[in-house]
Symmetry: C2
Subunit: 154 residues, 2 copies
DNA sequence: GTCGGTGCAAATGCTTTGCATTGAT
DNA sequence: ATCAATGCAAAGCATTTGCACCGAC
């Protein structure tokens, strides 16, 4: 599946880069690391990309602007930005594929313990209604959903 | 993140293998393919694995039982089982990582069009309450959630 | 004897890492 | 000088594929 074209639900893009930049600098400083031109360029391009992107899109966009940042540096910067809480992974939780029996399709909803990495299958019946409502609002028909709750020991 | 240990919310495991086996055979027949011993072994081990598993777990478990199925065949079988609707991928939608700005954390909820691969960021405020309730029931504290609706043109 | 099925090993594609070089303080 | 950052190329890792051999009908 190629997920390139993204639309966001009605938010223009303000000049969020300044606060993000501060957060990033602070994170880097806390690690004894520097805010380099390469890292600035990654962040710069990133905030202008439509809200979900893949590493390669980012790389191409940077190339298009004439920025000369290597993939290695880009990936290293992405990791730093995740640590800083500036970006987050979507759709994926880990690198490797996970499967489950589709039988009955009951275990679509998951409670994921971040402290123990335990996954608990849960059932949240009202999600079906929410899902259908959302689709209706967009003139679409739901074919399924996925709900993941991240939690840890209170 | 390693997601190995899985618990399911209170379903014992009945002898579901027979119906699944039939479904699989039917799918294979429709493709002009055969229900081979290797494929049977994959299905066999699979239904006994706790409900979410990784390819490698499956492979190790098969080895443990003395089944001699190659990884290539296992992966090919996994693909066939997905086509047949017997298993489905969880947590992943595609192979490559996708990122988004975490700024404001508003775009956690997504409407994914399967017909156009378009992703629309949505906002479903009541999910926070649902998520907190679920965590409470398990004595945990929520740190976040993810909701993905799959849909296509009605 | 024709097909598909299998195992092996090589290929793939995204991401990470080792290492020598470079740059800032 | 020191310490971290960079680019390149090589390594990793999960998954896929090419190919030669095998087996069922």
């Amino acid at each position: 599946m190629d997920l390139r074209p993204i639309k966001s639900e009605g938010d223009a893009e303000p000049a969020i880069i300044d606060p993000l930049c501060s957060v990033f600098r602070r994170h880097l400083k806390s690690l004894g690391q520097k805010y380099t031109p390469e890292r600035a360029q990654v962040l710069d391009v990133l905030v202008e990309l439509d809200d979900i992107f893949q590493a390669d899109q980012l790389f191409e966009e940077m190339k298009g602007r004439g920025y000369r940042v290597s993939k290695a540096t880009m990936y290293r910067t992405i990791k730093l930005l995740q640590e800083a809480g500036i970006i987050q992974q979507v759709l994926l939780t880990s690198e490797t594929a996970h499967y489950q029996l589709a039988y009955g399709r009951k275990a679509q909803d998951l409670l994921i313990r971040l402290d123990t990495d335990e996954i608990i299958a849960i059932s949240v019946p009202e999600l079906a209604a929410i899902r259908d409502r959302v689709c209706k609002e967009h003139g679409l028909k739901a074919t399924g959903h996925r709900f993941q709750v991240f939690a840890s020991k209170g």
